[in-house]
């Protein structure tokens, strides 16, 4: 055996070991991600319980189940993967964030998703919110204004098999006329006002949810409901139980 062959052999052996190692690591990652995800869901459930009646009602089992299924680590950049199941918002590049799982759960819950619902999402971001909704409703339409995010999310959702999510790059202000009216609309991007066309595209009896606050700190959720008569009402819903006066718990 000449030295060249030796080198090749050793190299091949090393490569094999590396590949085996990688696949083992990957399996280990998968199982540890699953465990972390289940811890995350338990944390979200606990927080929702602690928030109590500020939310009106407890987070539905189906929403928590969806949170337990969707692989959040697939929706964050590699550098953030190890934090994927921490219950906090994470930067995903382009100045955007993936929302805190707890807030995603609350928002999804407020939409009162039903398996026959058609939902519009403004601000696809990483695609995580759409993925959570995917298992709870019939169809999700999602619009993103930042081109690389839109393309990445589209590819990701397709790769992960979220077939009932349709995304496009464009202006969310005018909703998605050809698929309107929507049973619910979730706006994940901040705006100075609620676009009137979105209110128009909400079906009577439908709900719209918008998080209020900065990218890393949601202050409260704005819930808009269109009554069967077409009247619009709104609620400011706190994510935590907090009374602004001392001595009034």
């Amino acid at each position: 055996m000449n030295s060249c062959q030796k080198i090749c052999q050793v190299g091949a052996g090393a490569l094999l070991a590396l590949l085996l190692g990688l696949s083992w690591t990957s399996r280990a990652d998968e199982s540890s991600f699953a465990a972390e995800r289940s811890d995350m869901v338990a944390e979200v459930e606990l927080y929702a319980l602690l928030a109590g009646d500020t939310m009106g009602e407890a987070v539905a089992e189906s929403v928590l189940a969806s949170l337990g299924i969707v692989e959040r680590h697939e929706f964050v950049p590699d550098t953030q993967k190890r934090f994927a199941y921490e219950n906090r918002p994470l930067p995903i590049g382009h100045g955007q964030t993936i929302s805190q799982p707890y807030i995603v759960a609350l928002m999804t819950n407020l939409l009162e998703p039903d398996k026959d619902d058609i939902v519009l999402e403004i601000g696809t971001g990483s695609g995580y919110q759409a993925a959570i909704l995917s298992g709870l409703v019939k169809q999700v339409y999602s619009i993103e204004i930042v081109p690389p995010l839109a393309h990445e999310a589209e590819a990701r959702l397709e790769r992960l098999g979220y077939d009932n999510v349709t995304t496009r790059l464009g202006d969310g202000y005018y909703g998605w006329e050809e698929h309107a009216p929507f049973d619910s609309i979730v706006v994940t991007a901040a705006a100075s006002h609620v676009p009137p066309p979105l209110v128009k595209q909400l079906r009577p009896g439908g709900r719209m949810v918008i998080p209020v606050g900065g990218r890393f700190m949601t202050q409260q959720l704005l819930l808009i409901e269109k009554t069967e008569q077409g009247e619009v009402k709104s609620w400011q819903i706190a994510a935590v139980r907090f009374v602004p006066l001392t001595g009034e718990h």
């Binding site: 707890y102 204004i145 930042v146 790059l169 006002h193 209020v212 890393f216 409260q220 706190a238 001392t246």
Partner: protein, 807 residues
């Protein structure tokens, strides 16, 4: 032999560049990060001075024989690092907004702190070394140091009008390099060649060869401008810079900007196309396209800010904060007969009135419109006429307001004295209208209400509740303060305006509780309950029990955006991960972090190295000597910081105030220190020591200023800028002159009695200065500026007591 005049000139240049760099860094970091870094920068500069003092004290024997070489090398390194550290510092992936979630951000913050410490260390080494090595000329060197710093502060403000911030940085680097070149002839020939080669390379790199993009701003991706530029097809149309800010105009043709805060959920109309203007990459304001067709502006009637126009017919309007002209347009839409608008930044006026005049429909050329460049409070104060409506526009961005990063911004717009001033300029039946972002649980809205109640009471109104109305949408609130009681008809209009747009009435005279919280439903009718409580005799208890600080801001404590209460922190901190992060005012906690950082860095870099020296004086004396210089460090900085803040109101902008007050204090303190030797010769040995006399003078002048400055400012705030600056310097001169003396007097005494202790004196004084910057702001937020000044006086008096007997 080093020629003295070269040393003096080099010292002058280094000090100019150092203070210029300090001010420029505040600007640069306000652009790439946020405003509260200003405090960190001042403390960094002082830390550099303190630490270099320590190093010189420890390495004196090695450094002294190589004075020219070390000075020239330090100057060169100062020049290189001031550019390099800016490039490196903005590459540290620090994200202020993520601090709540990710403790690693604190490490990044420390990283930034340490990076920016380096250039100041080298600058200070030049000056410190000159003072140490040329003892016979200490007073002249000290004078040139302070003179250079004083002129540098003024120079950088002028430079920022003429140059981009990056080129201003290059200019400062060239100044430092010139100092290094000036010292070269005294360097031994063999090394001189290498030194000159390095200097030549530096000049070439600075002027021509900086790698592409090195100095480009790397703005936080979470600031408004960065966010806007992510959107498809957006582009920067123009970018301008002056000391007041970096102004960027952005166009978004595919997905237009549509800024309409507080737009009713019922509305059918949309804002027309808009251009966005970002100041320091945030605080978005818009220029709205106007083609003369008022119909296109119908949306302007469906925001809470439109309320006053329902009650006033063809009013004479004053708009404080014209921004991109939206409120001027709204006033025209609503039929105002005359509009005065004030805008702080002349660039903004130029953009709307000239550069984009076609887009804005030649808004500012309308006969009814007059736009003035200036500061709002000052403008109102010098008006002799009266208005039917004074409107304070919503100019800060919601994200800034929401994340609590404004906590440390002083604002004289929303103080009790400010509201009193506006009320004095209202016609009978006229109104003050203030629109703010609505935060839940309420902060701004209730604090403003409390401010208005107090201002009305101070103007002699017995029942302020008869003159106040407050409405809200889901994200804005508009407060009306009427000069006189609201009529039944006006109240009817307020109710109808709100009902038809699904806005909630949060307060109006005799409002029934059942009318609150109808359309945009909060867990409780917080604002109505709060407003009612603030008008009742339990207002004090309510403010006390409220979990946010809603005590009205005053000119003495102008922190309207400060809502932080220590007592609420345990609860809000525990809730932070459960959706309660927005309940914490992070800006304040960052100030605390800066203070903690300054303390640790000061101990590690200044005090620990000094401890390593062998003990050289007896315990009791050491304690007293140390205390004297320690106390002086606090006292000087407290007075200086308080004056910077006090003069903001008079000089109209924080940056002008920093430049003028710093220049004034440095130059006149320098003169004072020069004079101190003569004072000592004249008085010491007599009945009163020189320090006692100086401290008595400082106390007298300061007390007079505490009493008279508000009155003086009110009287002269309307003067042209040049006169105001002269008056400010005139006022600062005697105080700073006296304040420049106690330190050199103490040093001279030490030189005679305990020379070995001199490094400790420098170190302790430097350490106190570093810490006192953040501490002064904290104290001002809690107790007001007058308290800070009085505390400084107490410290000066204790210093006099400490030095009274022999050290």
């Amino acid at each position: 032999m080093t020629q003295l005049r070269f040393v003096l000139l080099a010292t002058f240049l280094i000090s100019s560049a150092a203070i210029g760099y300090e001010i420029l860094l505040m600007r640069l970091l306000s652009i790439v990060q946020w405003h509260h870094f200003a405090y960190m920068i001042i403390s960094l500069a002082l830390l550099g001075y303190g630490a270099s003092g320590t190093v010189i004290a420890l390495g004196r024997r090695v450094l002294e024989p190589r004075f020219a070489l070390v000075f020239a090398t330090s100057g060169l390194l100062f020049s290189v690092t001031m550019v390099a550290c800016f490039a490196i510092g903005q590459r540290v992936p620090f994200n202020a907004l993520e601090i709540v979630w990710n403790p690693r951000q604190l490490i990044y913050l420390t990283g930034i702190y340490l990076v920016f410490f380096v250039p100041f260390f080298f600058a200070a080494s030049c000056v410190g070394l000159a003072l140490t090595c040329l003892k016979a000329h200490i007073s002249r060197i000290y004078f040139f140091d302070l003179l250079g710093a004083g002129i540098g502060a003024a120079m950088i403000v002028v430079a920022l009008f003429l140059l981009s911030p990056q080129n201003a940085l290059r200019l400062l680097a060239v100044l430092a390099l010139s100092a290094s070149v000036l010292m070269s002839p005294a360097v031994p020939l063999l090394i001189r060649k290498r030194l000159m080669l390095a200097q030549g390379v530096c000049v070439a790199v600075l002027l021509f060869g900086l790698p592409q993009g090195w100095l480009d701003f790397r703005i936080s991706p979470f600031k408004g401008l960065s966010q806007a530029l992510q959107v498809i097809d957006t582009k920067v149309l123009a970018q301008y810079s002056n000391p007041l800010g970096l102004v960027t105009v952005v166009e978004s043709p595919t997905i237009p900007f549509r800024d309409a805060p507080g737009l009713s959920l019922n509305t059918q109309s949309e804002p027309p196309e808009q251009l966005a203007i970002f100041t320091d990459a945030d605080a978005m304001s818009v220029i709205t396209r106007y083609d003369g067709n008022l119909e296109s502006l119908a949306y302007m009637d469906d925001v809470t800010a439109a309320l006053p126009y329902q009650l006033l017919d063809g009013p004479r309007v004053l708009i404080l904060g014209a921004g991109g002209g939206t409120d001027v347009l709204s006033a025209l839409y609503h039929g105002a007969r005359e509009i005065d608008a004030v805008e702080l930044n002349p660039l903004m006026r130029k953009l709307v009135g000239e550069t984009y005049a076609d887009f804005a429909g030649h808004l500012y050329e309308d006969d009814r419109v007059n736009v003035h460049a200036g500061e709002a409070r000052g403008f109102v104060a010098r008006q002799s006429g009266h208005y039917d409506l004074i409107q304070i526009a919503l100019l800060d961005s919601f994200s800034a307001s929401g994340s609590g990063v404004q906590t440390l911004n002083e604002s004289y717009l929303y103080t009790i004295e400010g509201v009193e001033e506006y009320l004095r300029h209202l016609e009978p039946g006229g109104m003050l209208a203030i629109t703010r972002w609505l935060r839940i649980p309420p902060r701004d809205s209730l604090k403003l209400f409390a401010t208005a109640v107090e201002a009305l009471r101070r103007t002699g109104v017995d029942a302020p509740g008869r003159q106040l109305a407050l409405i809200r949408s889901w994200n804005t609130s508009t407060l009306l303060v009427r000069n006189g009681e609201f009529t039944a008809q006006e109240i009817g209009s307020i109710r109808e305006f709100s009902r038809s747009r699904s806005f909630d009435t949060a307060f109006y005279p005799s409002m029934p509780a059942g009318e609150a919280n109808r359309y945009n439903i909060l867990a409780e009718p917080y604002i109505f309950e709060g407003a009612t409580a603030l008008l009742s005799d339990r207002a004090g208890v309510f403010i006390e029990r409220y979990k946010f600080d809603i005590t009205p801001a005053t000119d003495n404590r102008p922190y309207f955006f400060h809502y932080f209460k220590w007592s609420s922190l345990p609860e809000t901190f525990a809730l932070r991960k459960r959706g309660g992060a927005g309940l914490i005012e992070w800006g304040y906690l960052i100030l605390i972090a800066t203070l903690a950082q300054a303390l640790v860095a000061g101990v590690v870099l200044i005090l620990v190295p000094l401890l390593l020296r062998k003990r050289d004086a007896q315990g009791g004396r050491r304690a007293r000597m140390g205390s004297y210089f320690f106390v002086l460090g606090f006292a000087f900085m407290f007075v200086e910081m308080a004056f910077i803040q006090k003069f903001i109101l008079f000089l109209s902008h924080p940056l002008y105030s920093v430049a003028v007050v710093l220049s004034g204090f440095l130059v006149f303190a320098g003169m004072g220190s020069g004079y101190s030797t003569r004072l000592v010769q004249r008085f010491d040995g007599g009945k009163y020591s020189s320090v006692t006399i100086v401290v008595a003078a400082i106390s007298g002048i300061t007390l007079i200023y505490v009493l008279l400055l508000p009155e003086l400012f009110a009287r002269f705030v309307g003067l042209p800028d040049a006169l105001k600056v002269s008056l400010a310097l005139f006022l600062i001169a005697p105080l700073a002159f006296c304040m420049g003396m106690p330190f050199p007097i103490g040093l001279n005494r030490l030189a005679e009695e305990a020379a070995d202790f001199i490094p400790w004196a420098w170190g302790l004084n430097g350490f106190a200065s570093v810490v006192s910057v953040s501490l002064a702001t904290l104290l001002a937020i809690e107790f007001g500026f007058t308290a800070v000044v009085l505390l400084a006086l107490g410290l000066y008096i204790s210093a006099a007591a400490l030095i009274k007997s022999k050290l």
